[in-house]
Symmetry: C2
């Protein structure tokens, strides 16, 4: 039996998919394409764009402000949808850029409609995944609205750790992370200099180290307490990072 895809692993946290559901899901995951790091997969305002299921690599979703500032709304890891909005909406409401080289399956609106007709439970699972995406953006809003720079960073790294573990990447000790200080700055509403200072503070407090492209958790409990990280919003009932 082939290894389950990251999307299958993720949706299985919501619902036990039947063989028919799994076959429909596999059908969505067949038009594989490859993109280089830095490629703009979707452009804000674009019409008739495709969506993708990310199979390998990382991307980030962002909005550009009129003054050129970039607000990263979320990052996508394997098993995530890219630009689901762009096939449901008339125009894409944000841009998506490949952070690393990526492999992704292209989706058209008709693919989604056909899959929903065949497998209504899969429809509810996709609605769950979309709701989980929203719950993450809500947390990022709380991050920027109500948390200190240290808490934001801790929360963001804990969230990534939990998400990656669910799809079989990374473990309790940490994860490989291709994000630069500029990605972190644009995601957390900080300057790159501030990002470096915060990472140093977290490292000196033995909470987490982010060096040489790897995030290594120190004291998980203390870090979660600092960040006010309650992973219920990720709705993945696993014993996380333990």
């Amino acid at each position: 039996m082939p290894k389950p895809s990251p999307l299958t692993l993720k949706l299985s946290a919501f619902v036990a998919l039947s063989d028919a559901d799994l076959a429909t899901l596999a059908g969505l995951d067949r038009r594989r394409r490859q993109f280089r790091a830095g490629h703009e997969m979707l452009h804000e305002g674009q019409t008739n764009a495709s969506a993708f299921i990310l199979a390998r690599g990382w991307s980030c979703a962002f909005k550009l402000q009129p003054n050129g500032d970039r607000q990263i709304v979320n990052v996508q890891i394997p098993g995530d949808f890219l630009g689901l909005h762009s096939i449901l909406f008339r125009t894409s409401d944000h841009s998506v850029e490949a952070v690393t080289p990526i492999e992704a399956s292209e989706l058209l609106a008709s693919d989604i409609l056909e899959a929903f007709s065949r497998a209504p439970r899969l429809a509810s699972a996709v609605l769950w995944a979309a709701s989980r995406d929203e719950a993450m953006v809500v947390e990022h809003l709380v991050n920027i609205g109500r948390r200190t720079a240290e808490q934001r960073m801790a929360h963001f790294l804990l969230e990534l750790g939990a998400r990656l573990k669910l799809v079989g990447i990374g473990d309790s000790t940490g994860f490989d992370c291709p994000l630069t200080q500029y990605h972190l700055a644009d995601a957390l509403g900080l300057s790159a200099v501030h990002v470096n200072r915060v990472l140093r503070q977290l490292r000196e407090a033995d909470l987490v180290r982010f060096q040489h492209g790897r995030v290594v958790f120190g004291d998980f409990g203390r870090m979660a307490a600092l960040a006010g990280f309650d992973m219920a919003y990720l709705d993945q009932d696993h014993p996380l990072l333990r």
Copy 2:
């Protein structure tokens, strides 16, 4: 023929619903309940909660921070789902409070699954609505992360105007708004005093007036330019406020 419900009006902006879709949708909208202003419809962390379709009145979704700060994530108006997450997730990831007396139809997870089996196009419409909710939270994130206090307020009021118009409440001139300065403060990451100052500035610039429970738009174009308001993310192709 009865007047279409706010939810029907909203979903019709995404897809032309068939008679069968409409009948299924009406079936979701039958367990009507009434709640007083201030009632907590959903509590963060609650398990086995119901969801609701809001038929009349306003509510707000929020998260409380450990220090007691409240971040309002969004407000709901007629036609919106309340707590769709709470029937898809094991626990509700946020709280919802009635801002005014409200009338709402209770939804169980089984209602959603059954409706999706009968009407897959309705499933895609609900996914569209959930994606639109996420797009709004994304804009609120950009509001707090990258916009000035004046821009935030202008953007928030323009968004509300557009949403209300879609469901047949309010028009190009403005809308009745039950939100207090405290709601606006908690939604925009400002203090109540700051909210008053910003509203005064917008009024003095003849952009918008918010007085006696009514928002009255002045110069819509200039206000949209100030806020960087591009309503594509609401995906409602109407000629808005014109």
